[in-house]
Amino acid sequence: MQTSSDEVLISRIANGDRLAMQVLFARHHVRVYRFVLRLVRNEATAEDLISEVFLDVWRQAAKFEGRSAVSTWMLSIARFKALSALRRKPEYELDEETAEAIEDHSDDPEVTLAKKDKGALLREALSALSAEHREVIDLVYYHEKSVEEVARIVDIPEATVKTRMFYARKKLSELLKERGIDRGWP
């Protein structure tokens, strides 16, 4: 529904329309921020990165050819920026390990299950996935991207997108099992 009007905005941005940039930013910055935050796990870094992402959109708008939705294009840029930041500052990976350690729990599965409802355990398991698995799950479920769009954003073949999603979900089942929930799959 929003795709065509996003393209019109990009066309205006390519001509230097600052107001069009404000509209595009207002429309997409929260989702782009959340996508980046889930990758870098650092709020200040995520904020810095979305400024960079939208600055790239401003600079590259004239090169946008409409082969994908504007939101898909922006998530591709965001992903590239996030991965570059992670490479520049490996301490973010340390943050991730720390975050996972904090999310880890000392209770046995039965005690954990009694303490939390299934939804909370599912969210905990989702947070404990690897960055690669988290990314594909977020793109499919939260950012509502098709197989083709995920392939474009992550720069992998479409068949690999399906396989990666399958293994992400399989890993999720394993993490839930560790927390006392057996889904009987896979």
Binding site: F25, V30, E47, S51, G119, L126, R169
Partner: protein
Amino acid sequence: MTSEHKEADGIEELLPWHAAGTLSRRDAERVEAALKRDPELARRFEMVRDELGATIQLNETLGAPSARAMTDLFARIDAEPKRAPRALGLGARVASFFGSLTPRTMAYASAAAVLAIVLQAGVIGVMVSKSGSGGYETASAPTTAPGVGAFTIIRFAPQATMDDITKFMEMNKFNVVAGPTAGGLYKVRVGDASLAAGDLNALVKKLQSDKVVGFVAPTR
């Protein structure tokens, strides 16, 4: 047909995209047909829907960036060199094509397209703004303070029409109290504060099977 056959057909691996509503019509119909035939596949689809709900809830708790991000961005944009107007791009060329149509042709085409696009958002917007308390109210619904009650977050199915949504809200005596968020989610009051958590979960499960509902989960 067994679930093993579904895997061979690649049906099962399409379930996440079917739950998110991003499959082509043809693939969605294939999956729907398979779900009707195969109870085990339907059980696995429920698992996928749980994952979808948890992922949305998880992301919605991440908050939003501060105003600093926007301030920084526009300071940097203002520091960029002024650019000369460029040649028309594809989007502009399309706009130019439509501009060449007669006003009457354009008016009919635009009206039809715009009507289809805004109908769902419009009717829900009316529901949000209809009452003074900010909540949609049916004629028989009692007035309730906005923060009091049992709530869910709902994303309406993309194919749901204005009539479908209106009937759904009236039949269930629900009120839209906020939304939509960036993800097209609405906060909907589905009962009073005395509704027990177990009853709310049971209600959510029932609503999940309603064709008007794309996604639903309990919230505070």
